[in-house]
Symmetry: C2
Subunit: 459 residues, 2 copies
């Protein structure tokens, strides 16, 4: 497919060489970090201003050409693939930090700013932005997927850290949602509605984010457990005890092996927890001691404290690299990913059942997770060319999701719906999925924005 002649002319006038129909540019935007594949979009545009985004959307909406936003392209469920063709909007050129307000602990940015660039920019302020998915994602994409990371257990997810948005609607109207105040009761929470909407309700052109103060003291450690059950039970007990963990991450024995091979680590091939404490020196000491006592009850051993900032950076870089490290366990493999999140009391049983199912089906399927939230992933390594194997992996993933729903959990804690989780939406939401469809139809009547994702197909 290609853009309608008329639309191409309008967009060329508007964007010049920031519109491309070249194969390389299109193919680059047909890639995905997971096994999902789709044909490339018809064209790619690199807008530089909100006004341009507005003009592009109005033009595409008029002639019924889909528009798909693209941040860093690191989403894991094929979110940004142009399954119905159309125009991909790459936000790589809208990457400015607009205003830091240290005294309010907020920042306003364009959507293409990446989390690493943002924290680089904030370094001198004593503040940081807390949400840290493993990839160096864009903040626009992170808002759109309601992303989280290792620190959500303490500082929350994108839901909690986005204060306000500028959004361009399908027909080109520009709106602002939220304010810079800490709270508001002035009508429907449109900010929360656009966060997690995966580019299907509107295109985010500006974000105002909550920042946090750099903790006075930080302590981090890794420790090993004899078996998976004891490691995960230690997590439940820790969270239930109320210790305000800044991070508490689980990696299983397979992941530890992957770290050794891929990241030059030398961990025993056992399940591990990686933990971090933030606060005043006294509080960090108290918290670390209390955690140490709980961990000892579960037989934790080989406590390794990361004392310098460099050691800690190395530790978390390793954790953030878990996905790619795990992929390296089977060269050429892709990952069928699960992302369930369950109530804390259900976590040990959920991880146990997942591990059993993976083993019973003969997969290499490392398990890692932001377990302080009750959230974990298994990365089922498959040969993307082997349809039968992919199908079998999807069955394992499907059963994990079903078990999560049965105990009051969710099919996706942080990655989002995209293509990969859409078939599970009716099971999770029932009639509420139709309500999502009604909202989509009200805001995007021609189904211009990222069509074929998240909501039910139109009748």
């Amino acid at each position: 497919m290609s853009l309608p002649e008329n639309l191409r002319n309008r967009l060329c006038d508007l964007l010049g060489d920031r519109l491309s129909e070249g194969a390389a540019d299109r193919d680059h935007h047909a890639q995905s970090e997971s096994f999902h594949r789709a044909p490339p979009p018809d064209a790619v545009a690199w807008p530089e201003t909100t006004q341009e985004v507005s003009a592009i959307l109005a033009a595409c909406d008029e002639v019924g050409v889909p528009v798909i936003a693209w941040g860093a392209g690191t989403s894991l469920e094929g979110h940004a693939l142009a399954v119905r063709g159309g125009l991909t909007l790459d936000f790589g050129r809208m990457d400015r930090v607009l205003e830091v307000r240290p005294e309010d602990m907020t920042v306003s940015i364009q959507p293409g700013v990446t989390r690493e660039a943002l924290n680089q920019e904030l370094r001198a302020t004593g503040l940081f932005f807390s949400v840290d998915p493993g990839a160096n994602a864009s903040l626009g994409g992170m808002a759109a997927t309601r992303a989280s990371g290792t620190t959500a257990v303490r500082y929350g997810t994108m839901r909690d850290n986005v204060l306000a948005l500028e959004v361009v609607l399908a027909d080109g109207r520009i709106i602002r949602t939220g304010t810079r105040a800490a709270k508001s009761s002035a009508g429907y929470d449109l900010t929360a509605l656009f966060v997690g909407s995966e580019g299907t309700l509107g295109i985010i052109t500006e974000l105002t984010l909550r920042l946090h103060g750099q903790p006075e003291q930080v302590a981090a450690a890794v420790c090993a457990f004899d078996d998976l059950d004891r490691a995960v039970e230690c997590v439940s007990t820790t969270i239930q005890s109320g210790i305000p963990m800044a991070r508490i991450e689980f990696v299983d024995a397979a992941t530890a092996r992957a770290f050794n091979g891929y990241a030059g680590a030398s961990l025993p091939e056992l399940p591990h927890l990686m933990v971090e404490f933030h606060g005043s020196p006294g509080a960090v000491r108290e918290d670390a001691e209390r955690f140490g006592e709980i961990a000892a009850d579960y037989g934790a051993k080989g406590f390794d404290w990361a004392t310098t900032p460099e050691d800690r950076a190395r530790l978390w870089r390793m954790r953030h690299g878990a996905y790619h490290a795990c992929l390296s366990l089977r060269p050429g493999a892709s990952g069928v990913l699960t992302d369930i999140c369950v109530p804390m009391s259900e976590l040990p049983a959920a991880v146990h059942a997942a591990a059993e199912d993976i083993a019973a089906n003969g997969f290499i399927g490392p398990i890692v997770g932001h377990v302080g939230d009750g959230n974990f992933h298994s990365i089922l390594l498959v040969d993307p060319g082997d349809e039968a194997e992919v199908a079998r992996a999807k069955e394992v993933a499907f059963r994990m999701a079903e078990r999560a729903l049965a105990v009051g959990g969710t099919i996706t804690g942080e990655h989002g719906v995209g293509l990969g989780k859409r078939a599970l939406m009716p099971a999770q939401h029932g009639e509420a999925w139709q309500v999502m469809g009604a909202i989509k139809a009200a805001l995007d009547p021609r189904d211009t924005l990222n069509p074929g994702k998240l909501v039910p197909d139109r009748n």
Copy 2:
């Protein structure tokens, strides 16, 4: 007006004597805590189950009779008044705590449970529900107004503490939003959409709430300042310093006077801060010391520590009673209330400007606030029969709202829109207000649910 014959028969069959068209019942549901007035509803119903709510809504929607939810009737902007007649649904009989899950720190309840009843029920668990508006509101009403209270600075508002809802839609469909997991990325955040929707999008029939552990140690104090500016500047500095305040409340000199008269206090007639610290003994000591140092810089004096649980209960009961205490400063008066919330750095100027405008216009208008969030109220005491005075008070209130918007704040931090703030919605939201209207039209096409509130009128 009265109910259409057919509808009355259907509802009578369904509810028996839990449907009333009696004058006393109708008049009771025409009352409001503020100066807003409207004719009574045509009838009042007391449902006992979700199925009943569903049947009532389907029946009313069919014949175009408005349905207005009623929790405890404590909202301050005429939210629950039947401005277009119809049926008021009183949730007083749906007041059961359904399930406490201490190990997950969650609870599921019916909407008519009040915040005091809930915390009574939780006493033995070591957990508490944190959101505490001054009135003993229902949790359904608190969710519907996105309420907050004195502890929001630490534990968040209803936005942060509602995990999942059961909602009956205008046509009677029953949906569930959210899960019991700590986070989810499974599609649009319908929970956040219904929280704060003031009964205009759906009727909440069940809530799952986040609980918090009772802090190991609690310390509370009240202290006085020479003038309003220094008290409020102390708040900004405290919050910016990162001390994790559990409560930090401001009351001005007029409010202190009201407490003395109404609540038997003996405070100097000066501006005060009321503060509370939660945590481990060490952390509470550190936090209280740091706060004490900051407060001393602003000339705080007369520190009075509430050391026993009874003393603290008395302190916060007094604070919760501020609205009624202030009303007593002018017998027979009603309150025109403001509820702005601004970014922390703007708080001192905002309070200062409000106080000046109130004084310049000769009002008794005490100022109190959840200032740790940047949120404060002035209670402009008016003779509800004196239209000119009410109009003048509304002008003062309007200017406060305008100033809040000019610095990135909101017209209502916690009370919500109701009747009183609706005229300000275009100023705050611009085109986004139309988006709220489009969502309302999609979910409630016949405008059955609390019509005439929150969104623009239908064309």
